[in-house]
């Protein structure tokens, strides 16, 4: 008894939080990530790894179901923290502290474990009752389909997202996999909570007539691109560079002086830009050419920097350099060209529409890199769906 309590206390100080981001609540996601980093905690990437589910924002019914599945798959001792979209950093910190205390409370955890259904050999939470003939555990067996080598092989349908590390909040891609090759993909947006398009805020506010400086907008744009770059690096398997991008993003958002940001960003961009290994790993797939741009009406960086994943990364880095140079610009913001394109036209819709065609035939890791290199911002769709006139900034 004493031993497990001591182990629990020792472990509780270093939980591995899994962050469930909700579209329309990007601001609180960033605050939560910064808080987690400040504590030196290591984010988890799967339900099996985590003991602390950190839900940033109010998920709608559909997303809630997905989050519930993750919660259900988490082994105990476990804790769940919900912070709403308006939460300040202090509130997040306080909620995390409470969660740590809860994790160390062996007695309470034991009671909680007693009330949940038995682990192992589980069945998905209450849904279809029909039984598949002869198949184990009522599971549907893999289907077959033709593959590119002319063989007829088994296929699996595998959902990706919406709760996943380095993944756009609220996006779900159902892949049809043959081995690790994507034969087809269906994309859908999960969750229509209300919320704001965080990355587009300055431009939207300026359109409403409020005074916004170009410098503030440049900061937001640089931070948005750094967020995307960090995710792409995370998916590419370079966690140290991804962490660096995250720190830079937070520095830029926190309003650090231009001189300091410029210096540290310069070093970062050089390191990324000069990495031949990185370029070798992300080139020659996910190519967006003029035909794709026209077909899906793409705008923003994806259209400005046609080419493969590496070209889009280089485009982000170059645009970030320009934006960081302009963070002290005091002139009033004009125009509506946000991080992903014109903010009034919800450019992420085009990016999402383009995904299935780009993913088909890609190897699994290439598929994830393609998605990360487009990094559609679901906030735009959610915010547009909720308040078509203009969200409250």
């Amino acid at each position: 008894m004493g031993l497990s309590a001591r182990l629990a206390r020792c472990a509780a100080g270093r939980p591995r939080p899994l962050i469930a981001a909700v579209p329309g609540a990007t601001g609180v996601r960033l605050a939560a990530e910064a808080e987690v980093r400040r504590r030196g905690w290591r984010p988890a990437s799967s339900p099996g790894e985590t003991g602390l589910l950190l839900i940033c924002g109010e998920p709608g019914a559909a997303l809630d179901e997905a989050i519930e599945t993750v919660w259900w798959a988490m082994p105990g001792p476990r804790a769940q923290v919900r912070v709403d979209a308006a939460a300040a950093s202090a509130e997040i910190a306080e909620a995390l502290d409470r969660a740590v205390i809860g994790l160390a409370d062996v007695a309470a955890q034991r009671v909680a474990a007693g009330t949940r259904p038995a682990m192992g050999g589980w069945s998905p939470p209450a849904r279809h009752e029909e039984h598949h003939m002869g198949a184990p555990a009522g599971l549907a067996m893999a289907d077959r389909a033709a593959d590119r080598d002319g063989l007829t092989l088994d296929v699996l349908r595998v959902p990706l997202g919406p709760v996943l590390a380095d993944w756009p909040a609220g996006l779900q891609v159902v892949m049809t996999l043959q081995g690790d090759v994507v034969q087809g993909a269906e994309v859908e947006v999960v969750g229509t909570g209300e919320g704001v398009a965080f990355w587009d805020e300055p431009w939207l506010a300026a359109r409403e007539g409020r005074t916004v400086t170009s410098g503030a907008a440049a900061r937001r744009l640089a931070a948005a691109h750094l967020d995307s770059v960090g995710r792409l690096l995370g998916v590419a398997g370079w966690p140290s560079a991804a962490a660096r991008a995250g720190r830079l993003r937070d520095d830029v958002l926190a309003g650090r002086p231009a001189a300091r940001v410029t210096a540290s960003y310069g070093a970062f961009a050089r390191r990324i830009g000069r990495s031949r290994l990185l370029r070798w790993m992300i080139r020659d797939f996910g190519v967006i050419d003029d035909a794709v741009v026209d077909r899906f009406d793409l705008t923003g960086p994806a259209a400005r920097h046609p080419g493969d994943v590496a070209a889009r990364l280089a485009g982000w880095l170059a645009e970030t350099t320009a934006a960081i140079a302009a963070v002290d610009d005091e002139t009033a913001l004009a125009g509506d060209e946000g991080p992903r394109g014109p903010v009034t036209r919800a450019p992420s819709a085009g990016l999402i529409a383009a995904l299935p065609a780009l993913l088909e035939g890609a190897e699994f890791s290439a598929a994830r890199l393609i998605i990360a290199s487009l990094d559609p911002d679901v906030d735009q769709l959610v915010a547009a769906a909720v308040s078509p006139e203009a969200p409250d900034a």
């Binding site: 497990s4 182990l7 629990a8 020792c10 472990a11 100080g13 270093r14 939980p15 591995r16 980093r37 030196g40 290591r42 990437s45 799967s46 099996g48 790894e49 003991g51 798959a73 988490m74 082994p75 105990g76 001792p77 474990a113 682990m119 192992g120 050999g121 589980w122 069945s123 184990p136 555990a137 599971l139 699996l156 595998v158 996943l164 590390a165 380095d166 996999l177 081995g179 690790d180 690096l233 998916v235 590419a236 398997g237 370079w238 966690p239 140290s240 560079a241 962490a243 660096r244 720190r247 990495s275 290994l277 990185l278 070798w280 790993m281 190897e363 699994f364 890791s365 290439a366 994830r368």
Partner: protein
């Protein structure tokens, strides 16, 4: 196999292996904390202990219709293979069990990792884990031949498959000096056999943890500990193969073995933070088009040199 060995070494070996594995994990945590810009990275030293404590109290989680037997076999095989491989590695001048074909034995145990990772990925009945398992097979096919050639080149230079003899043959000139290609290729394959860092595609983040994605609790602990042990053994074998074994001034041989092992281990751990993951389809190309021809040339050079 049946050479006389002191009983205490049999007990000491797992302890030493576990200790070095912990050191590697702690070093890895500190490097990660430095990378994340944490003000006191030294505090991360205890992170592996806390993680281990957490793993011990966490429930095992189930997946739908898993093959538990195979998963367990796969998970446990990792540390077992590492331990069995460590048995033939000379610490100082003597291994725990002196096997005349130590190099081949090490190679066989390393191939056992293929099975371990594949079983872990397959058994849990999860698509991500399965892809992770597949990736390891692909990785194996990519690194195994250069790896074998690297081992054989060192053995050829010494004229023996016994790791102790290989180390002894470097009296004066370490193999790393005149077999640099083999050494570099060996380091690559050391990363690959422990699916670590740049060659960690089978457990990469894009698969949310790949082959290990569904593991939790003690299973996860054994799997990750086994992985660190493999890294340690891979580093330790580099010492007799290329770095002169226990040779060195002043200090006793076993100290030199340990020092060199730690140096190689630190380099391997560091590589994870410096380099990004190599995607298997691309690495396969590099391996077959560059590493294998380079290794063949290296082997040819060594063969010509040792030819009487």
């Amino acid at each position: 196999m049946r050479e006389a060995t002191a009983v205490w070494t049999v007990v000491a070996l797992p302890i030493l292996l576990a200790g070095l594995a912990f050191a590697a994990a702690a070093f890895n945590s500190v490097l990660r904390a430095v990378g994340a810009g944490h003000p006191e990275p030294a505090r991360a030293l205890t992170d592996p202990l806390r993680e281990a404590a957490r793993s011990l109290i966490v429930q095992r989680r189930g997946t739908l219709a898993p093959d538990r037997l195979l998963t367990r076999i796969g998970v446990i095989s990792l540390p077992v293979a590492a331990l069995l491989a460590a048995v033939v590695v000379p610490i100082g001048t003597e291994p725990v069990a002196r096997l005349r074909i130590g190099v081949v034995w090490f190679n066989a145990m390393e191939v056992a990792v293929w099975g371990a990772v594949w079983l872990t990925g397959w058994g849990v009945n999860s698509a991500y884990a399965l892809i992770g398992g597949y990736r390891f097979i692909a990785q194996g096919l990519a690194y195994e031949l250069p790896h074998m050639f690297a081992l054989i080149t060192a053995a050829l230079g010494a004229g023996s498959l016994d790791l102790t003899k290989v180390a002894a043959a470097q009296d004066g000139l370490w193999f790393v000096v005149w077999m640099p290609v083999a050494f570099v290729v060996y380091l690559f394959s050391a990363l690959a056999m422990a699916f670590w860092g740049p060659l960690g595609h089978p457990v990469a983040g894009d698969l949310a943890g790949g082959a290990a994605v569904e593991l939790s609790g003690p299973d996860r602990l054994v799997f990750l500990a086994g992985r660190y042990m493999l890294l340690v053994v891979a580093a330790a074998v580099a010492v007799p193969l290329f770095l002169g074994g226990g040779a060195g001034p002043l200090l006793p041989a076993w100290t030199w073995s340990l020092v060199k092992t730690c140096a190689v281990l630190a380099a391997l751990v560091w590589a994870r933070h410096r380099l990004l993951v190599l995607r298997m389809d691309r690495f396969m190309e590099l391996s077959w088009m560059v590493l294998i021809p380079a290794m063949l040339l290296q082997a040819l050079v060594v063969a010509i040199v040792v030819l009487p």
